[in-house]
Amino acid sequence: MKSRRKRSIIAKKEQRTAYLLLIPAFLGLSFITYLPILAVFGISLTDLNVGHFIQGGTLPPVNFIGLDNFVHIFESPSVDFLNSITVTVVFSLIAVAGSIVYSMIIALLLNRKMPARGFFRAIFYIPYILPATAVMISWWFLFRYDGGLLNYILVSLGLGKSYFLSSADTAIPSLALIAVWTSGNLIVIFMAGLQNVPRVYHEAAEIDGANAWQRFWNVTIPCMTPIIFYNLLMSLVVNLQVVVPALAVTKGGPGKSTMFMTYLMYQIGFRGRQLGQAGAIAFVFFIVAAILAGILFATSKKWIFNEAGDDKK
């Protein structure tokens, strides 16, 4: 009887410590993550303006204007929101597919025994840790039509020059190439996953006479599917929010070919001061991201391989 009470006191103490330690997470999850996402819908129904936060401003008080902001962003040709959605989704799909294939290949290569492996691992990771703005400036220079390195390489290979970032047709693929170049973080996660593929499976397959290619398709890939899924999802969420290329270099152009949703939100909300409309853009962005992630989740059951008898933690 007494010992049970003592145990419950210990459990209570443990619980109290746990809640104390979690205060930062509570604050973060509520005030920085979930509440703002709820609030964004409320904001999108008002005519809130940056001017409302400037002291001594002369703006009339905030009004509730229903769905006007949504109507405006979809109908105004100067906002051209549908273009932004298309541009962002197309960019993300190219960047995600490219990054996954590239980082998987690099991870597979680096997973083999070789001299100076740590050094090469660092080389492929470095683009990820460089300041994104500096990366954009560097690539903007590589992409130049006159005197750019990439056009020199194209000409040397006997191909024609490309306008890259200065043409509406090639701007998106060019930016996706930069995104692929900076996907070092995916390589690390793939490498971690490859090292967790049980050796026994490979050995068993080898005894059964499977060649390297068959082992790759029937052992490595199935064991990696959960990690591929994770990387797909994270890379999708990151690339949908693409904004630095537009902020640092393209400014949404040429034309509106790189007017990404996040950049449009910035333009409308902070350059144009229309926080209400920017909120509407953010809300639609959330829906688009949710739909894409939902599609990924829905198909995942079909292709994610579950190891039979995998012990649940």
Binding site: Q15, I32, V40, A132, A192, M234, Y266, A289
Partner: protein, 300 residues
């Protein structure tokens, strides 16, 4: 007769076996060499853009655009790195960026360890629910929270200060980092903490004296990730910081790019300089990187 035949057969078998091992080993060697060559070529390609900026930063403006381009500068003009503070104030921008990222790294890592320990070790009511909220928030795009957060910070009058960029990191430094710490803590045998508990240590004591030293790789990974995130956050820096004396490295570079498009050598020197801090930090922690993530068993 029979015996010799048997012996011969045995010998042949042995020879065949040995040669097959040999040929297998040879194949293996060829495969290894091919992989190595491919990796070297790819690594050179990946590094080419970086070399191109460094090369350009050491040339004069005429040489930069020469056709066909030169891969190595004829004269190494290190003088390009002496940039007038009026155009690109490297030390001011570095100072400002560090004023943001150092507190972010410290607070973010400490709070991530606190939360990760709670999720990884302690028992409390509502754990599964809170943890799934936490993991779920990894999927939520931060872009959606920008406008509401701006409204909050602006109503407190905190625009054009560093606070809106620092304060969020007091809250666990992001769900991914909490998750990483939690996974890492779960790989540490419970017996270690139990021994400490028997010796009379409380939970906090166990955390600081047993857990923290054993999860050092994860702590280093988390601090690097926070450092990179704060260093790269051009959008929030653009939104909150307006006066030039508060400019960060990223803002300074963007402004340079926008206004001094003719001073190419200076701009590339500035770009090359801005690569440095991240690379230096990475070199210090690099050996923990893959290990840190492998050990967390990203599998689940």
């Amino acid at each position: 007769m029979n015996q010799t035949a048997n012996q011969a057969a045995e010998k042949m078998k042995k020879m065949f076996f040995r040669s097959s091992i040999k040929s297998k080993r040879r194949n293996q060697k060829i495969a290894d060499a091919t992989t190595f060559v491919i990796v070297v070529i790819l690594a050179a390609l990946v590094m080419l853009p970086l070399w191109w900026i460094i090369r350009s930063s050491l040339m004069n403006s005429l040489e930069i655009f020469k056709w066909p381009p030169q891969f190595i500068p004829t004269q190494w003009l290190f003088s390009n790195y002496v940039i007038k503070p009026t155009t690109f104030d490297f030390w001011l921008y570095l100072g400002n960026t560090l004023t943001i990222s150092v507190p972010c790294v410290i607070f973010g890592t400490v709070t991530a360890v606190m939360c990760g320990y709670s999720f990884g070790r302690l028992r409390f009511g509502g754990k599964t629910f809170i943890f799934s909220l936490c993991v779920g928030s990894m999927l939520l795009p931060t872009m959606v929270t920008l406008i509401p957060l701006y409204i909050v910070w602006a109503s407190f009058g905190l625009t054009d200060t560093f606070w809106p960029l620092i304060l969020p990191y007091l809250c666990g430094g992001g769900a991914f980092n909490i998750f990483l710490i939690r996974q890492f803590i779960r790989t540490i045998p419970r017996e270690l903490d139990e021994a400490a508990t028997i010796d009379g240590a409380g939970h906090i004591r166990t955390l600081t004296s047993i857990i923290v030293p054993s999860i050092r790789p994860a702590i280093i990974v988390v601090s690097l990730l926070i450092f990179i995130t704060t260093w790269n956050d051009l959008l929030q820096q653009t939104i909150y910081i307006s006066s030039k004396e508060n400019f960060t490295m990223a803002l300074g570079l963007t402004a340079f790019m926008g206004s001094f498009k003719t001073d190419y050598s200076g701009m590339f020197a500035a770009t090359a300089l801005s690569f440095l801090p991240g690379v230096i930090v990475y070199i210090f922690g690099q050996r923990y990187f893959v290990e840190g993530i492998v050990m967390t068993g990203m599998k689940n």
